[in-house]
């Protein structure tokens, strides 16, 4: 849609102002400098109280654990997201729903795995990510086989089209659960990419770039993780999302790769991914490849806020908040275990 500036604010002006206000509360380098100085989790709680988080841990019984901190951090992000989702209208509400589908996929896979291992459903529900909750969650344990699960429950969720594209009823019984997760995620990414391209304007400009990076990153990670497992090259290439820059030549090359060096060679052809592989290594003191990917993602998402009148700011805000949660939990773990050598391995955002 051209000239978005003219009518974006009719439906979405308030929410854009709100999300930018939330983004202003993301922790800065000085806040992180304070946090790494903490000796105990109580210190951490005190320092977090002076940031945008406020007294979010006030009602928790001591002693604090890292799990409790993680849950409360997530809860704050979820409350903010739900408030914005409740106020939004089309097409922003579909856009925000797409953001939640990735958490839904994780929840479904968690519930299926848990049910297979005979865990009680109440315990599993508490482990699910609140952003990805859907109505039929409690009913998952009723289904005996995955095929029944699909027919009875999953077909009513918003994720049903992602199952239809890639997995048939027979497949659900035999496939490994991780393959199900990756196939679902591939279908979800491609659908999200399609939706954003059709929105047009600055939204599609930013979101397509962000989703291309996400797709390529998954392709690299799936390839690297599949070395030494029983996953055949054909199966592996079926899991690669096709909406990234690597499609089609890079993906074909990745499908043929046998070890890390060949993957690195594929990345050499792409200007954005070459520096990510160059700096990474497994020696102590090096950043891991995952860290470099996270850094690049943070850089991309911070740039969303440089333009006005597009939906990318909502997606970017959720991703940056997630990274902030990961950072704070990392620092909290280092503090709790008194193992401070790697405490500076968080990824600064602003």
């Amino acid at each position: 849609m051209a000239m978005q500036e003219l009518y974006f604010n009719i439906d979405n002006g308030y929410l854009e102002g709100l999300v930018r206000g939330f983004k202003g509360g993301i922790l800065r380098r000085t806040d992180y400098a304070n946090l790494v100085q903490c000796e105990t989790l109580e210190d951490l709680k005190l320092h977090l109280a002076s940031t945008d988080y406020g007294n979010f841990l006030a009602n928790e019984p001591s002693p604090l654990t890292v799990n409790v901190i993680d849950d409360k951090l997530k809860e704050k992000m979820v409350i903010e997201f739900q408030h914005m989702r409740n106020q939004s209208v089309e097409p922003l509400c579909t856009f925000m729903d797409f953001i939640t589908y990735s958490y839904m996929i994780d929840n479904i896979v968690l519930l299926i795995t848990g049910t297979l291992h005979q865990r009680p459903i109440s315990e599993l529900i508490t482990k699910c990510h609140p952003l990805g909750s859907f109505e039929q969650m409690e009913a998952i344990h009723v289904a005996a086989t995955p095929a029944e699960l699909y027919n009875a429950i999953l077909i009513d969720t918003p994720l049903a089209p992602f199952f239809v594209d890639c997995i048939s009823e027979q497949d659900l019984d035999e496939l490994n659960i991780e393959i199900i997760r990756n196939t679902l995620y591939k279908a979800y990414l491609e659908a999200f990419y399609e939706f954003c391209s059709q929105l047009g304007g600055t939204t599609s400009e930013f979101m397509c770039r962000a989703l291309e990076f996400e797709a390529d990153r998954r392709a690299f990670i799936i390839t690297i993780n599949s070395f030494g497992t029983e996953l055949t090259k054909d199966d592996r290439s079926k899991l690669y999302p096709r909406c990234g820059k690597l499609h089609p030549d890079g993906l074909a090359a990745l499908a043929r790769a046998d070890d890390y060096d060949q993957v690195r060679a594929v990345a050499e052809y792409y200007g954005e991914y070459k520096p990510l592989f160059e700096g990474a290594g497994n020696n102590p003191g090096d950043k891991t490849l995952e860290d470099k990917f996270f850094e690049h993602e943070v850089e991309l998402n911070v740039n969303a806020f440089m333009q006005q009148f597009h939906f990318g700011v909502f997606y970017a805000y959720i991703k940056l908040k997630e990274q902030e949660c990961r950072n704070i939990v990392w620092i909290a773990e280092c503090v709790a275990q008194r193992h401070r050598t790697k405490i500076d391995n968080y990824i600064p955002i602003l």
């Binding site: 003219l6 102002g17 709100l18 930018r20």
Partner: protein
């Protein structure tokens, strides 16, 4: 889908008009398409009042567009940064100024409209009144369209100013300068409109 629908409608209408025009041209009735007849037979009052209507309505549309663009951003940004609420009302005032230009011009133009005796008037009187009608219409278009885009422009800049102010308070004054330049273009429209209507008069004297 709707693109095909609207494209279809416009195509059909355009085709029918072309067909009618070609029929007239080819059957020797081209003289019937008489623009001069249209201009002399329509009353200058129609043109003058259309001009007045365009002035006020397009200016108000521009002001409203600007106000909602800026206002929603101020409301959103003011949740986490309440200090911006009062200062950013200046942007709203700049948008409102656009509507005020419109109403002033409309009132100035209204004063010019006077009755005249169309049948008994001399040629010079009719000439002067027709010119007044066309001038008022032109001035209405000028002022109305200038204020429309000025209002939209001030609104978009004001929205950016509110959101920037929420993040960093020192940015507001700098973006305000951009807004001042934006609101000047509405003033240009008013100046030209005043010149267009300053020398015309209606009535039986001329």
């Amino acid at each position: 889908m709707s693109l095909y629908l609207y494209g279809g409608y416009t195509g059909t209408v355009f085709f029918i008009l072309v067909l009618v025009g070609v029929y007239y041209a080819l059957s020797g009735q081209g003289y019937r398409f008489d623009f001069g007849w249209f201009l002399t037979e329509t009353s200058p009052y129609m043109w003058a009042n259309l001009g007045v209507g365009l002035t006020i309505s397009l200016s108000v549309v521009g002001a409203a567009w600007g106000i909602f663009t800026t206002g929603s951003s101020i409301v959103g940004g003011g949740v986490k940064a309440p200090r911006i609420r009062t200062k950013n009302l200046i942007s709203i005032i700049f948008c409102e100024a656009v509507a005020i230009y419109g109403i002033i011009m409309a009132i100035v133009m209204l004063q010019i409209i006077e009755p005249f005796d169309a049948d008994m008037a001399r040629y010079e009187v009719r000439k002067a009144n027709f010119m007044a009608g066309y001038s008022l219409f032109g001035a209405g278009l000028t002022v109305g369209l200038c204020n429309l885009v000025c209002g939209i422009c001030v609104g978009i800049v004001g929205s950016g100013a509110a959101l920037a102010d929420a993040q960093n308070g020192s940015l507001f004054v700098k973006i305000l300068i951009v807004e001042i330049f934006a609101s000047v273009i509405g003033l240009f429209g008013v100046i030209v409109g005043i010149i267009q209507t300053s020398r015309v008069s209606m009535g039986n004297k001329a």
